[in-house]
């Protein structure tokens, strides 16, 4: 079993009511183990308690209850300046009265590291973040991306057991942010330091993290690897917060031999839920927009009459074009796919994808993302077209909360 870098035991943080402020439970009885060398992310909307958790680990806030240990040492009576952690702040918090070299060497100077060694390590740290030779620059002369790197170097130069990052990329523009995300991830695997990262950006969390804790109202809603969080969200909040999700109201109509669900006036096959669900229970079915495919209605002959090419038909039917008078619906049923009939009510071209809104017979609607590939029949639907919304039974998930 991997070594524990940071452990939270029943940690709570309550901010008492003050002038004009209500009593707030920012973090509620959190239990957590973060492994050594892990890239761990707290993800959630603002006010979910993620930053408070990070600040408690850093020592800027004291837990109201519970205990935090870092590398096995209880941190209850250890002030921020004595903890084996360093922080990269959201606004970088570079010292404006010091130049780049002095900023990066600040922690070493406080620890009375001799000047020659300090200079060497500052130089190494700056080279690590690709800012070599910037020692004598003023921090105010640097761009946001450069300041972010200096903040990173200033923390890493102290060789912390754990590096805490509080939305460090929030102030960067999208393109730079994507670049730095990859750099941070590379840096982390290269150095092997535990990174604890806080963000509200789900894409950022998915890109970089080994494990993600999705938080809301001071409670971890789900904790797991990015794929796990995205593919099998534990509840409606996680499914909605991470990426885009369609929710359909359903009722469980069969549990043996296989699970079947009534949604949008149709009975469909579904994979068994993670939690216990009884027959006839009202549940929510979650399905990602990119997991849904759209098929035309009618017979193969109808499609050919509309001018659909042989290549498009082959792609549509996975290479096996059915006989001319068989319907698309029959084909889909035969393949064991879920197919809900509907009507296209909106079609938006967004470059990489086409985004459709499909209205189902009971009035609920689905968002469908279709990749904009050439030779695909399903990129050409128009508003008013009758379609089937199609997915594999295991792609959709039953949620009870």
């Amino acid at each position: 079993m991997a070594e524990v870098a940071v452990e939270l035991k029943d940690v709570s943080k309550v901010f008492p009511a003050g002038r004009g402020a209500q009593r707030v439970t920012a973090v509620n009885a959190m239990n957590l183990q973060i492994w050594r060398g892990e890239f761990f992310t707290f993800l959630g909307p603002s006010g979910c308690g993620k930053t408070t958790t990070l600040r408690m680990i850093a020592g800027f806030e004291n837990p109201t209850a519970g205990e935090i240990t870092i590398a096995g040492e209880p941190m209850t009576d250890v002030p921020a300046n004595k903890r084996p952690v360093n922080t990269v702040f959201q606004n970088y918090a570079l010292f404006p009265h010091l130049n780049v070299g002095q900023n990066v060497g600040f922690g070493l100077k406080i620890k009375r590291v001799a000047a020659p060694e300090r200079e060497r390590r500052v130089k190494e740290a700056l080279e690590l973040v690709r800012m070599g030779g910037y020692e004598n620059r003023r921090t105010t002369q640097l761009s946001g991306g450069q300041q972010q790197r200096i903040a990173l170097a200033r923390a890493l130069v102290n060789e912390p057991t754990v590096l805490l990052l509080d939305e460090p990329l929030g102030a960067l523009d999208l393109k730079l942010r994507k670049e730095v995300q990859l750099e941070l991830k590379q840096l982390q695997s290269q150095l092997g330091i535990t990174f604890i990262y806080v963000t509200h950006d789900q894409e950022e969390a998915l890109t970089m993290s080994d494990r993600i804790a999705v938080m809301q109202d001071g409670v971890i809603q789900q904790m797991g690897a990015p794929r796990e969080i995205y593919e099998s969200p534990a509840n409606r909040f996680v499914a909605d917060f991470i990426g885009e999700t369609n929710f359909l109201n359903g009722r469980l109509s069969q549990t043996t031999p296989a699970y079947r669900l009534t949604v949008a006036e149709n009975e469909i096959a579904v994979k068994p839920p993670e939690t216990a669900v009884s027959l006839n229970q009202a549940v929510t079915l979650a399905i990602r927009p990119e997991k849904i495919n759209l098929y035309p209605v009618g017979t193969v002959a109808d499609l050919q009459a509309q001018g659909t090419t042989a290549a498009e038909l082959r792609r549509l039917f996975q290479g096996n074009i059915p006989t001319a008078n068989s319907t698309v619906g029959d084909y889909l049923q035969g393949e064991g796919l879920v197919a809900l009939p509907g009507t296209v009510v909106e079609s938006i071209y967004i470059g990489t994808d086409i985004r459709y809104q499909v209205k189902l017979p009971n009035g609920e609607s689905l968002i469908v993302r279709v990749q904009n590939l050439s030779g695909r029949y399903d990129t050409r639907f128009k508003v008013g077209d009758a379609v089937y919304a199609v997915w594999q039974p295991h792609e959709a998930q039953i949620l009870t909360s």
Binding site: G18, G59, A93, F95, H97
Partner: protein, 283 residues
């Protein structure tokens, strides 16, 4: 061009105001330094005699130097006493911040003269401090204990100036991003280390502004010395006043004022070189 014309129209009123009320009087003062007499026919004779008199009068120069040194110490002590006030206000006062700030501002609003007179009573022969000293047997009855001395002037001025110094320092401290303190702790600083390495250097513009707020008017101070200074507490400003009001030697008085102005400008220029003006002004 259009932009420039609009700008020049906008600044014209304030430029006229400055010209008429500051630059012109200053020029008149400089002209006066060259006149032989204050008024009448002698005032139309131009001479460098007063320059010769002033430059050869060691006593007068000595008094100016003494007033500058005295003002320096008054300013320094005011800054040292006001800093903890501003620090407490900015970092420790919490919800009482506004209340305390209001008290300080209100104190600063009370008439300058009234506050000096209060000290005159306090320090006087029958004042609270003298009475206490008498009851402890430290001094005889009716003896002016502290009043009419340079120390009395210093004490009074420091008291008067503290709120004026505390405010720019407070403004300077408030401008420091709180995450910089956290960054200092995060990088291993104890509280005193964080203060010395981060808070203090970043609050320096406010400190210098506060220092100058006190230093500049104190060099020319004459009200306080004349009320609580007695004969030993005389400052350069009193002599300047005497030249105008008693000796009626306006040219020498003007020259002494000019000398004082130049002395005061030196630290101002140094401060302006070291810091951005916007930082000093607390903007």
């Amino acid at each position: 061009m259009e932009e420039r014309r609009r700008l020049s129209i906008l600044i014209t009123p304030s430029a006229i105001f400055m010209l008429v009320l500051f630059v012109l009087p200053l020029l008149i003062m400089v002209v006066y330094t060259f006149r032989q007499g204050s008024f009448g026919p002698t005032s139309r004779i131009f001479t460098l005699a007063h320059y010769h008199d002033f430059l050869s009068d060691r006593a007068l120069q000595g008094l100016l130097w003494r007033s500058v040194v005295q003002s320096f110490w008054i300013s320094l002590i005011s800054v040292c006493l006001a800093y903890p006030v501003a620090y407490h206000l900015s970092f420790q006062a919490g919800e009482r911040k506004m209340t305390l700030l209001t008290i300080i501002i209100v104190t600063a609003w009370v008439s300058f003269l009234l506050r000096i007179l209060a000290w005159k009573v306090l320090l006087g022969g029958s004042g609270a401090i003298a009475s206490l000293a008498q009851s402890l047997g430290l001094s005889e009855e009716g003896m002016p204990f502290l009043i009419y001395s340079q120390e009395a002037v210093n004490l009074t001025l420091i008291y008067v100036w503290i709120p004026f110094v505390a405010l720019p320092i407070f403004a300077g401290l408030e401008r420091i991003d709180p995450s910089l303190h956290e960054a200092a702790y995060d990088l291993g600083c104890s509280r005193p280390e964080a203060f010395v390495r981060v808070t203090l250097p970043l609050s320096l513009p406010g400190v210098v502004a506060g220092f100058l707020f006190v230093f500049i008017p104190t060099v020319g101070e004459y009200v306080t010395p004349s009320l609580v200074g007695g004969t030993t507490g005389v400052m350069f400003g009193n002599i300047v006043r005497d030249q105008f009001v008693r000796a009626l030697n306006w040219p020498l008085g003007s020259l002494m004022s000019l000398a004082m102005l130049i002395v005061v400008l030196i630290p101002l220029v140094i401060a302006a070189r070291l810091f951005k003006f916007s930082d000093l002004a607390g903007l």
